[in-house]
Amino acid sequence: MWSYFARRVVIGIPTLWAVITVCFFLMRLTPGGPFDAEAPVPPEVLANLRARYHLDDPLWRQYVDYIINLLQGDFGPSFKYHDFSITTLIAQGLPVSMQNGAAALLLAILIGVPLGIFAALAQNTRRDYIISAGAMTGIVIPNFIMGQVLILVFGVWLKDSVLHLPAGGWNDGALPNRILPVFCLAVPYIAYLVRITRGSMIEVLRANYVRTARAKGLPFRLVVLRHALKSALMPVVTFLGPATAFLLTGSMVVETIFQIPGIGRYFVQGALNRDYTLVMAVTILSAGLVIVMNLIVDLIYSFLDPRVRYDERAP
């Protein structure tokens, strides 16, 4: 099995390279450049700037240089934040994004999965309809609306009550500043998890082996936990792999709304500023995380279902 995963890691390298290459050239195809947004500068200054960042080199030269630097762990200088290297920016922003993402993920799993099971066990009753309707609502409300509403309610209307929460800002990660953004991040994921868990649990509860387990005289709770849950979690895990990658790399929308110094916000700013290296770095990070998470998902599959095996030997 471990040789399989070693192989998967090796296969991940060309995947990552393809992502880097496509992204590199797409960025350069986009009209405009890193210095267009600034106040108009004399052509000589612009030429100097371009020379300093090697933008006057042929494109293939820039590409080769970028890859070589990358292999040495250097994401290059930021085109916008002149005194920072991208590595520094990421070292500042990534932990913030990851903490929020991990908290949101945990919240989503802890609320979404049990609620989905709860709804499935009461299929087509009022309890189920209320939960399902709530989940649908959570999915259809975009997070830029959700964020504004949360700010309005907890930051403005409840300003003089104990429930008051800061409308934005980071304040070095003080707990009250984290609550709204984490909740806002988590809501759509809670909603998706409820729907996926509910659907898959309903299906598994119809399985013949669940009937067998009930015919053994096991209490229903035990039938669900011991015989149904593992199979029902397969689609949940499938969803959680890429979802984790997206959550950990920060949400540009939520971080922008709540003024959080994570890398999601850098991504937006970077794209607007044509800060090539910054956008590249965030993309590479996201892609790398997606690859890693898919690998972890495959590992969890083999734990949930013994039929899933990754060695060459046929069982």
């Binding site: 082996y209 067998t212 015919a215 053994k216 005289g217 229903f220």
Partner: protein
């Protein structure tokens, strides 16, 4: 005294198109060490009758009537009482061994959990008893199989595991729902032999649900024939096979190929289709397909009455003669 006594069992399902009676007014009983065969086409209600007995109907199903198992009316019993009986005194072997075992659990644990639940034994004792039972149902290398997952076993072995599971606690009644349908013929014979031994050695009552008349002839003491949710004939297996009274039973037997039959040509079949339970014909449900149909059969439903030989039969032809 009978082990199981079903009186006027009716099973209804609430569907989008209204209520459907899958089982209507079925009464039967099975005694200690006796094997009762239940035959009928798909959709005749034979499986639903006994799923209702175990309280395992789909959520939209409702059973009415009375099902006495010992001193307990299973239809009125709460979930806790039912769980105390199911898997212990009252067990079931299901039709499809490929999907009836939990795929992510080792076979051994699926067996021992029954003992731990009902016999309150520790894990080591449960393991010993489970392995002994696997040997008893003739699973080779029982110790090794104990630690295997269901997907590592063949269909025949899985059905043996199902039977072992049903026999673990020494049940009073085993309900076997088409236990051999999904298996090939040589394995079928072995599985039936196991059921016969369970019946003889443990003096267990067995209800054998099948559409295979050969299986019933080989194993059952009595047989009940179901059509469109009702019992149409019930009695001693030899009597019914040698001298069927109900035209449907006659039809079924005529459709069974015989080794000693030398006639050449097409196999006989019963013309027509089993009726749609939502639009049952008036009178006798079998009348549109019955070769001996009379005017009365179209209007009135024949009651299930005792015949001179002691069997029960629901046909006006019989009752008139």
């Amino acid at each position: 005294m009978s082990v199981l006594d079903i009186k006027n069992l009716t099973v209804r399902f609430a569907t989008a198109d209204g209520e459907v009676a899958a089982v209507s007014d079925v009464s039967l009983s099975v005694g200690k060490g006796e094997c009762l065969g239940i035959v009928g086409e798909s959709g005749s209600g034979k499986s639903q009758t006994f799923l209702a007995v175990l309280g395992l109907l789909a959520p939209n199903g409702r059973a009415t009537g009375e099902v006495m198992f010992g001193n307990t009316n299973l239809l009125a019993a709460d979930e806790k009482t039912l769980n105390g009986l199911r898997g212990d005194k009252l067990t079931m072997v299901f039709q499809d061994p490929m999907t009836s075992l939990t795929p992510h659990m080792r076979v051994g644990r699926q067996l021992t959990e029954v003992l731990i639940r009902h016999r309150n034994v520790n894990a080591a004792a449960a393991r010993d008893q489970a392995i002994a039972m696997l040997r008893r149902v003739q699973i080779p290398e029982a110790e090794r199989r104990f630690d295997m997952y269901p997907f590592e076993l063949s269909g025949g072995l899985r059905q043996r595991v199902m039977i072992a599971m049903a026999m673990l606690c020494g049940p009073k009644l085993i309900i076997a729902d088409e236990p051999t349908t999904a298996l090939d013929v040589t394995v079928q014979a072995q599985i039936l032999d196991l059921i016969r031994r369970a019946k003889d050695e443990l003096n267990t009552a067995v209800i054998l649900i099948t559409h295979d008349l050969g299986v019933v002839a080989g194993l059952a003491d009595r047989v009940g024939v179901m059509y469109a949710g009702r019992l149409v004939e019930l009695g001693d297996v030899r009597q019914i096979f040698n001298a069927p009274r109900h035209p449907y039973t006659k039809g079924l037997l005529a459709c069974t190929p015989r080794l000693d039959d030398t006639t050449v040509g097409t196999m006989p079949t019963i013309p027509g289709q089993p009726p749609n339970l939502q639009r049952l014909p008036t009178g006798c449900a079998y009348h549109p397909r019955c070769p001996a149909v009379m005017e009365l059969c179209r209007v009135e439903r024949p009651p299930l009455l005792a015949t001179p030989t002691g069997s029960l039969n629901a046909c006006f032809l019989e009752n008139a003669s």
